[in-house]
Amino acid sequence: MTKQIHLAAHFPGVNSTTVWTDPRSRSQIDFSSFEQLARTAERGKFDFFFLAEGLRLREHKGLIHDLDVVGRPESLTVLNALAAVTDRLGLAATVNATFNEPYELARRLATLDHLSAGRAAWNVVTSSDAFTGENFRRGGYLDRADRYKRAAEFVETARELWDSWTPEGTSRPFSHHGPHFDIEGEFTVPRSPQGHPVVIQAGDSDEGREFAAASADVIFTRHGTLEAGRTFYADVKARLAAYGRDPDDLKIMPGVTFVLGETAADAQERAAEIRKQQVSPQNALLALEQIWGRDLSAYDPDGPLPDIDPDPDSGLVQGRVRIADPFAVAAKWRALSEEKGLSIRQTVIETSTRQSFVGTPQSVADELDTFVQTEAADGFILVPHLTPGGLDDFVDQVVPLLQERGAFRTEYAGTTLRSHLGLPEPVWKG
């Protein structure tokens, strides 16, 4: 039997990929935008709708970064509102396990799960830096190992709280005494129609994979080649057995972009045009400064790369993931630029993430299906470059082709997110 594809829709928040200069780009904050994209996803019978999170505005050269889409609503609140205007679509919120507390967050997630009749999901992320911490009581800095330990204990504690009510609806006292959380009392929300909210874990790192294998229902990954996808897939699925889990208990869903055209050439042309819009001259210099760690504003984005060395300890960049080895990246970029005769902007376009799936609806459907049938993924989280209309063409043109070949549902079989994902209801551990 054809393996079924899982599809999710991402509403891009703070990012440099949304082409906000496009006249079709609308508000990133008005509820109408969220409603429109969610309704489109539900029309396409998607598994869920996905929101990222921000906890501090990013800075560049000590100033608030002003080139990207900035500003977004708080995820769980938006998803509760979306529960009113959708019936089946899963609702996934990214919420940090570093700057929240298990009792409050477990309660908010359980409430969303009830109010949506079993459609809630939690994408667990962590944060390490004191920069973000400056907005929170928690403050401070957690090293990488500690933040994963805290996150793991956070998820475990949330599950203990969700299980503190019996399936029959009786509340029982809970107590959790661990290195990060030492709490007890009574939880205020009974089990929901899907037992627990679905837990998503984002991460390609070794710690991320292990955490997901131990505990997550979905892993949200980067997209790579078919071969890289298969390797990742095999690695992660193999880790599940150690935790007494079945390979099907964890769905692997890379975040992907797409560009559709009437012909392959048309799609490639559109893709190139989108890349140019995403990498404005200002964004090209910014990307360069993030690697070089230096003020490069005097350089011409249409000119050659700077011949000076990076300064990795300048503190120029705040609130972004740091480049591991800026010297190596700079050397690679220089080589590429010289070999192909590329300007700064062309080099950034050439090296930065490109659209994952570019082609006709038919070829994109074929490719997506190939990834799933050959075990490089269980599905995809689609990231449109336009909000809120960026999924319309995919839903109208690609989804029907996937349905025709029997790789994607034509109707929701169940009402809960777990049922869409084919995940069993968690066993109650009273």
């Binding site: 906000w20 200069t21 904050i29 008005d30 509820f31 921000g54 906890l55 501090r56 505005l57 100033l63 608030i64 002003d66 080139l67 990207d68 900035v70 500003g71 977004r72 609503p73 708080e74 769980l76 609140t77 938006v78 509760n80 509102a81 529960a83 009113a84 205007v85 700057f99 929240n100 507390e101 009792y103 409050e104 309660r107 908010r108 359980a110 409430t111 969303l112 009830h114 109010l115 400056e134 907005n135 929170f136 009581r137 928690r138 403050g139 509340s171 959380f181 030492d182 709490i183 007890e184 009392g185 009574e186 205020t188 929300v189 009974p190 929901s192 404005s280 001259p281 200002q282 964004n283």
Partner: protein, 333 residues
């Protein structure tokens, strides 16, 4: 009190816990049919019930005009998260959000978080004032026109219209700015039960609506005068702070609804209060009598409006949209 002003009428829709959205949607719609200014949904971490802000977010798209005021406590939460969530309720309701500020007392609630021991009420309310203060600053940390989408310079926002709040309180500090752009109402409406002293000290500084639990119009009038005087002493315009009597009600017959209209109308006409906040014993039953019995009588007496004149909760309450404290500072410098 000007003759054109309408008395303010609101109601609490909590009660025994429910976890289905339909229950709350139907109560909010009922209150909306009665053109009430807003509904409150009380909340605490200590007893069974869903997260109130989540419930009213779920209710928002299912209603059109009614103000939505969840209780959000300030003791164990992160002020930055509180600010973002209430601002987002304002976005998803298109300008109908408020929050009822409250504190979490007692060791049992503290044990749910395990971060700090229980503290005296005065300390908690001092902290609540700080939270209300920083939340207001975060709401203002984006000027209304901060998003510019200027393709010629590639800038999505004008960073000069975003502001660090750099707040340092006794128990927390927040750098800012907010992640959420300034909400539609500028500031969602702040409601504080000002019956107890410590809470009243917060209300006179930060509330748009102060509630007082009292049995008599004389006591209500005294409380109202005191609250207005103290607000004035803090440099506020007392006409921007409505005082509502919080009235427990239990209505079993149409005659009870008529009596309630008489009482509410009399208190209002005597200038004892700006309106009432109803606390039903049985919300489905009592709110039905209020909407079908009490409301039409108050409308007939010309005390209560027959329709919503505006779209936002501030408009229902006759409150203007607050000036942005940072934009104002920028202009004067």
């Amino acid at each position: 009190m000007s003759a054109t002003r309408s008395l303010h009428l609101s109601a609490e829709i909590g009660g025994p816990p429910h976890f289905d959205a339909a229950h709350y949607v139907s109560l909010a719609r009922l209150a909306e049919r009665g053109t009430l200014d807003f509904v409150t949904l009380s909340d605490t971490f200590a007893r069974p019930g869903p997260d109130a802000l989540a419930v009213l977010s779920r209710v928002a798209p299912a209603t059109e005009r009614i103000g939505l005021v969840p209780t959000v406590t300030t003791t164990h939460t992160e002020p930055f998260h509180v600010s973002a969530a209430v601002a987002t309720l304002d976005w998803v309701s298109r300008g109908r959000a408020g929050w009822a500020v409250d504190v979490s007392t007692g060791e049992a609630e503290a044990r749910l978080f395990g971060r700090r021991s229980a503290a005296p009420g005065d300390d908690l309310w001092h902290e609540a004032r700080e939270v209300a203060d920083v939340v207001g600053k975060l709401w203002d940390s984006w000027e209304d026109d901060a998003e510019i989408r200027d393709s010629s310079t590639g800038r999505f926002i004008d960073r000069d219209k975003l502001h660090y709040v750099d707040f340092k309180g006794r128990t927390f500090s927040v750098r800012g700015p907010s992640i959420v752009p300034r909400p539609p109402q500028g500031h969602p409406v702040t409601v504080i039960d000002a019956t107890a002293d410590a809470a009243r000290a917060a209300a006179v500084r930060h509330a748009d609506i102060a509630l007082v639990r009292t049995d008599t119009p004389t006591a209500a009038r005294a409380a109202r005068e005191e609250i207005r005087d103290r607000a004035r002493a803090h440099g506020r315009d007392p006409d921007r702070l409505s005082v509502l009597a919080a009235l427990p009600i239990e209505l079993h017959t149409t005659a009870d609804a008529v009596d309630l209209a008489g009482l509410v109308g009399d208190w209002y006409e005597q200038g004892a209060v700006d309106g009432v906040h109803l606390l039903p014993a049985d919300v489905e039953r009592d709110l039905g009598f209020v909407v079908d019995g009490t409301v039409p009588l108050l409308q007939h007496r010309g005390l209560l409006r027959r329709f919503y004149p505006g779209a936002t909760l501030r408009e229902h309450l006759g409150l203007t949209r607050p000036v942005n404290q940072y934009a104002r500072a920028g202009e004067s410098s």
